[in-house]
Symmetry: C2
Subunit: 273 residues, 2 copies
């Protein structure tokens, strides 16, 4: 899938880590994936996942990831420590921390494992929507840098355009892909799990102070299924369940070719207003 003549994708620069020995890695924030304050949460989550995957003792593929955004990540260098706290026959549990100058900015835990064939069943199906090509792409305001790296074609619940127009539900459904296109892998899928803007923007019809406190991803696809997606658009749908007392939760699903469920993801989000 890689063309050595092609320029390196900005996503690969953003999640690049240099091993520093003893389960430690150094990285650097990327201006391309900046958010209003600090980096896009999805790129931080993807980078933490990559630390576990790049660790010399890493076993299997990601099954789950939980990232806790403990404080802002400042522009510049950071260090990630990845510690395999327990390795079983078919699963491996990770503890991860992203620090800057010794201060913890982000923590995470991950479970990796090997998969085997079992009985399978889907109880949810991808929403029935028009083809990606027939839906117009939408853009976030320019000050949200990270969003320029994604093509987003909203089928419902698009980006708020006018202040103070409330929306009756918090559901957004969209086609999404890396821009420029890039073969899908676990890191890219992780980042896309955080592509859904805070649901409170949609309900209130305006941008408000809001930020993810904790993000969980359950990976349903193995590496072969991800490779089959190549650079195709994924279909994602997200919604909140309850807003109140400064926080809300949101849940989403990401679907690939032929309606295969690639990931389910949940987050708790802080908001003001």
């Amino acid at each position: 899938m890689t063309d050595t003549a092609a320029p390196r994708h900005p996503f690969d620069d953003a999640v690049e880590l240099t091993p520093a020995g003893d389960g430690r890695f150094t990285g650097h924030t990327s201006a391309n994936y900046a958010n209003m304050v600090g980096p896009f949460g999805g790129i931080t989550a993807a980078t933490l996942l990559r630390a576990a995957a790049q660790h010399p003792d890493s076993l299997g593929d990601p099954l789950s990831l939980t990232v806790n955004f403990a404080g802002p990540v400042a522009e510049g260098a950071f260090e990630i420590s990845a510690r395999p706290v327990r390795t079983n026959r078919s699963t491996q549990h990770w503890a991860l921390e992203l620090t800057q100058d010794g201060v913890v900015a982000t923590t995470a835990t991950a479970v990796f494992g090997t998969r085997r064939d079992t009985w399978s069943s889907d109880e949810i199906t991808a929403p029935s929507v028009p083809d990606a090509d027939s839906v117009a792409p939408e853009s976030f305001p320019d000050f949200i840098a990270w969003a320029r790296n994604y093509e987003m074609r909203f089928v419902e619940g698009g980006i708020p355009k006018t202040e103070a127009v409330e929306h009756p539900t918090s559901t957004s459904t969209l086609w999404m892909r890396d821009q420029p296109a890039r073969p899908l892998d676990f890191a890219a899928l992780t980042a896309m799990c955080d592509i859904f803007f805070p649901r409170v923007f949609l309900r209130r019809g305006q941008y408000l102070p809001a930020g993810t406190v904790t993000l969980t991803v359950y990976f349903h696809a193995d590496a072969a299924t991800l490779a089959e997606q190549a650079g195709d658009a994924l279909l994602g749908s997200a919604r909140a369940q309850r807003f109140g007392k400064g926080y809300f939760d949101q849940s989403a699903e990401l679907w690939g070719r032929d309606g295969v469920l690639l990931a389910t993801t949940h987050q708790l989000v802080y908001f003001k207003g």
Copy 2:
């Protein structure tokens, strides 16, 4: 709510921790809350949450908890380390580990915080079901000790009774409460978030090897709302989204009096067969 003449509730014995200094606590598994292998995951989750809550530096109430079941917890003593990795003005991030003889059995992260009044909205509503008193309680087989501590009245998707009767969906909806009744608090609510037996049992109509790998709870209620529930039954509903390659996810909601949403919870579960 407490009657000093009443015997101590077995739940309080099960989650009891003794401070051992420097963010460490010692505890002991409880035969009352034993599962087929090791303790009921819900009691382990509740005990980890309590370690953060009991820590002298603890700030506010729980907002979220993620517990990773890294390996079996053996009957006997355990130690929990609770580390406040970062304390902000209104949130606090915790890293927790349960060890036995220095071996990590369970890891967790939690976010605590103070809440303030904001705009609020519910996008989901409690299922419409008969009153708890009009639904007959059901029991798990005797070898599942922990379940005897809960009164469970299933409205749909009850405990599999006959081998190999498959069920078309994985939804269970039930009234649940501590048995004997006990005032609701964050620890008890956390344990009840894991009360839903593995959804694969329901779909396949039989008990199979299965166990939670990782469990996340988002708390929507504050301490005052929990206190209002007293010892009333809560209404819970759970379902899976996808089963395959050895794992499935399940999501659930727990509701209190007047249909207030107390918690949403998600887990990834390992299964065989």
